[in-house]
């Protein structure tokens, strides 16, 4: 499904943002640098620039989301775009309209960009494949496949706090199996030069082919956290679990919860991240989530600048015919 549609235009610049997989280091660094520039906008008293004035961006969410949708909305508004939020519960999809019909109808309203989240892997690619050439598609999470803007805001946060990504040792702890975030993070960390990427989880929550991603698999939390610079705790996605994958949440916390005690094994300056929403006392101890190592709220802040960067990069590279006269 990836081969059918290219994320890059003929000049090798970002057109869609569907997955980190296959993107080169210069593209990812361009996103991070642009986000760095745009973060100044989000910090000044007038939090708006006219980069996307007159453009219409549709947030198309077939799956519930608060953080991702609101930060995409805020990002678009700070770029002066008009934003349309469509949630599945209130949309025609509930009445049986196909994805293609939804797409064609929104195109008929002269929208310029779709931000798509869907429970099925490949939906954003589907939109990119069928959309008219002037439309950009951003993947805001598709099934278990990818969540590239989340991974980039995590990279941005690591780079801001640790000063670099190159040479760092990173542990991703928790539900790797169901996590599109973990998949995108692993690709991004590898491209940006992390020295070691570890995944830490019980056997039932690690995909069988994990080793093909170039990660080291740990089933023991203390061993997995030893000397790491960054700990990323993932949400336990109970809603995606069928059958007995875990004995109980309490048992899971006991073995895999990121606690003060478990963090003693990590590097003294290690930071703790979480893509949210946080299940306190399940995958992370409350005092860790609120503690000095935690950068969880910075991740949320950085999400706006990173999404502004991705949107403006994807929309900024239109062919000259599309430029205003």
């Amino acid at each position: 499904m990836n081969q059918a549609v290219s994320q890059l235009d003929s000049d090798g610049r970002l057109r869609h943002f569907l997955t980190i997989e296959g993107l080169k280091r210069d593209i990812l660094e361009d996103i991070l640098d642009t986000a760095e520039s745009l973060s100044s906008v989000t910090e000044q008293s007038v939090k708006k620039v006219p980069l996307l004035r007159g453009k219409t961006i549709v947030n198309l969410f077939f799956e519930p989301s608060t953080r991702t949708r609101t930060t995409f909305e805020l990002a678009a508004k700070r770029l002066s775009a008009d934003v349309l939020n469509i949630n599945v519960s209130t949309s025609a999809a509930a009445k049986g309209e196909t994805l293609l019909d939804t797409l064609k109808n929104l195109e008929a309203m002269h929208c310029d960009m779709f931000v798509v989240r869907h429970e099925r892997s490949g939906t954003a690619h589907f939109f990119a494949r069928h959309a008219q050439p002037h439309i950009s598609v951003i993947n805001a999470g598709d099934g278990r496949h990818a969540h590239p803007t989340q991974a980039m805001l995590d990279m941005f946060t690591i780079r801001r706090v640790k000063g670099r990504i190159n040479g760092l040792r990173v542990a991703i702890v928790g539900d790797i199996l169901h996590s599109r975030v973990a998949r995108s993070q692993i690709h991004a960390l590898a491209v940006l030069g992390a020295s070691e990427i570890r995944v830490v989880a019980p056997k039932t929550l690690i995909p069988a082919a994990a080793h093909t991603l170039g990660v080291h698999v740990f089933h023991d939390l203390r061993q997995g956290l030893r000397d790491v610079d960054v700990v990323i705790a993932l949400r336990l996605q109970s809603e995606r679990m069928q059958g007995a994958m875990l004995p109980s949440e309490r048992e899971y916390f006991h073995l895999y919860g990121v606690t003060e005690k478990a963090l003693e094994a990590a590097h003294p300056d290690a930071i703790v991240m979480h893509p949210g929403p946080v299940n306190r006392g399940v995958e992370i101890q409350s005092s860790v989530a609120d503690g000095p190592r935690s950068v969880i709220l910075q991740q949320v802040t950085h999400g706006i600048a990173v999404r502004m960067a991705v949107m403006s990069l994807a929309m900024g590279h239109r062919p000259p015919a599309e430029a205003p006269k």
Binding site: R13, D30, D33, T34, E36, S37, L38, S40, V41, E43, Q44, S45, V46, K48, V49, P50, L51, S312, L313, M315, G316, H317, R318, P320, E322, A323, P324
Partner: protein
Amino acid sequence: MTTVDVDIEKLLGNIAAGLKTLLQTRKADAVTMIGIHTGGVWIARRLHQQLQLNEPLGELDISFYRDDFTRAGINPQVKPSRLPSPIDDRHIILVDDVLYTGRTIRAALNEIFDYGRPAAVTLVALVERGGRELPIQADVFGIHLDVAPDQQVKLLGPDPLRLTITESRVAHAGRGGT
């Protein structure tokens, strides 16, 4: 690339003197100076010092306000704009290195007005050259340079400041920058 044989210190002195007279005639007392990245900030720093202004110097990066964004894309190395606030009712002195098409100044004015309503804006440029595409002129400038449309005037710096002229590789392409 050729260096323009001018005494930049002398030009700065002339500008400072001209500006002083202008501000007196206009009875402007609440003055805020703003330089446009990157060359305009270098010039503004020197003028700010020579005129002994109290209000801190403002800096503008107009990349996010450019009108050729959809064609050129954005420069990822944009510096933050810092305007000493508030700018309402202030007399703004806007400083750039080279005044060419006028599009940079248009973008800078838009950005300034997003922050408030200044009492007036005075435009200062080290160099002014032909090729205006908008009805914008400098109130005070250091020197007028007669250059062909395919030549580019550029200020190098910050220490020492040096004016250069280069031939553009493609005539008329990439215009609208300054």
